[in-house]
Subunit: 191 residues, 2 copies
């Protein structure tokens, strides 16, 4: 929990009351590789802050093919925010790719922090502004970059986990086949 | 300007002071088809709320090919938020696809609304949460849907402007060639 508290304190004066509230609604969990924390079709109540390890969110298309939305590593949040926001059931699966430590929150309880401690409004708005920019970058990169260039960006961003996760996870994040990914890796190894 | 004020009032009690502030920093403009409001390489200071018409933001890759990030129609905002947020120069072009009416704001002045009128924090956080969800949906759709399915979604979302904008704009938004788009349209016309 200290990780999250320290991360918040980098940009916000955290009152002892707000800190106590965060502790009171948090639930630290140790997860094992393969654990699934959210399944398609369920009501989504939880959101997760990653202390260590790696979780993945993905959907499965009508042909049974997986498409990865996110790899969440240290200091990232992960949930099915589409489901939470629309108050609909989940379309995503969220699974642990490695043994992981997370802090679990009830998303509604966590949302209350904005009314109880309004200083979180500005903090969270700025987080979301940065998140919007990152998502716009990913959309543009998906449109304009070659698969090899997108793989290079992936390596920059996820250098710590690249060796721990499987080829088809990376391919499903980049939107390419495993064969294409293998070709790119062979090319990169030659350089 | 009434459009924007009414849109805000749907979800927020807008004080007369905040309304006056918004008026004081706004600049209504009539733009003509072909006008370019942001060019690559420039410092980005402005953000635009669309009253009528359609603006497009796009980037140009190293091969000179255009990739469309957004079509902004009535009640949408458009700018190069990646540049504004990183305080870097623009990588996007923003042009008018049709004669348009917009409200131009200086992005920094508009941002001041959060400190002057803190009730805007929660309003804007919720806007951004919705925006994040929409961008995540677009990423998943780009990964999991066929070009024809993405075209159908485009038609749903942009039914008002589809006939006014050119084939290569739509193709560059969907991430497909104009030839593929033509084939999809022929197939759709047969149904």
């Amino acid at each position: 929990m200290e990780n999250l508290i320290n991360k918040i304190k980098e940009r916000l004066h955290l009152s002892s009351e707000a800190e106590a509230f965060l502790y009171s609604i948090s639930n630290e969990k140790e997860l094992v590789k393969g654990d699934v924390v959210i399944r398609p079709g369920q009501v989504v109540k939880k959101t997760y802050f990653v202390i260590s390890g790696c979780l993945r969110s993905y959907c499965i298309d009508t042909n049974g093919k997986e498409h990865t939305l996110l790899f969440a590593i240290k200091d990232w949040w992960i949930s099915d925010y589409m489901a939470i926001h629309s108050e609909d059931i989940s379309t995503l699966t969220i699974e642990c790719l490695t043994d992981s430590k997370v802090i679990e929150f009830n998303a509604k309880e966590l949302d209350e922090i904005h009314t109880r401690f309004p200083e979180f409004e500005s903090y969270q708005r700025q987080n979301l502004e940065r998140h919007v920019v990152n998502l716009q970058m990913r959309i543009l990169n998906q449109l304009q970059l070659s698969a090899a260039e997108r793989y290079d960006l992936f390596l920059e961003k996820y250098s710590d986990i690249e060796k721990q996760i499987r080829n088809f996870h990376v391919a499903s994040f980049l939107g390419i086949t495993q064969e294409s990914l293998s070709r790119i890796r062979v090319e990169r190894a030659k350089k």
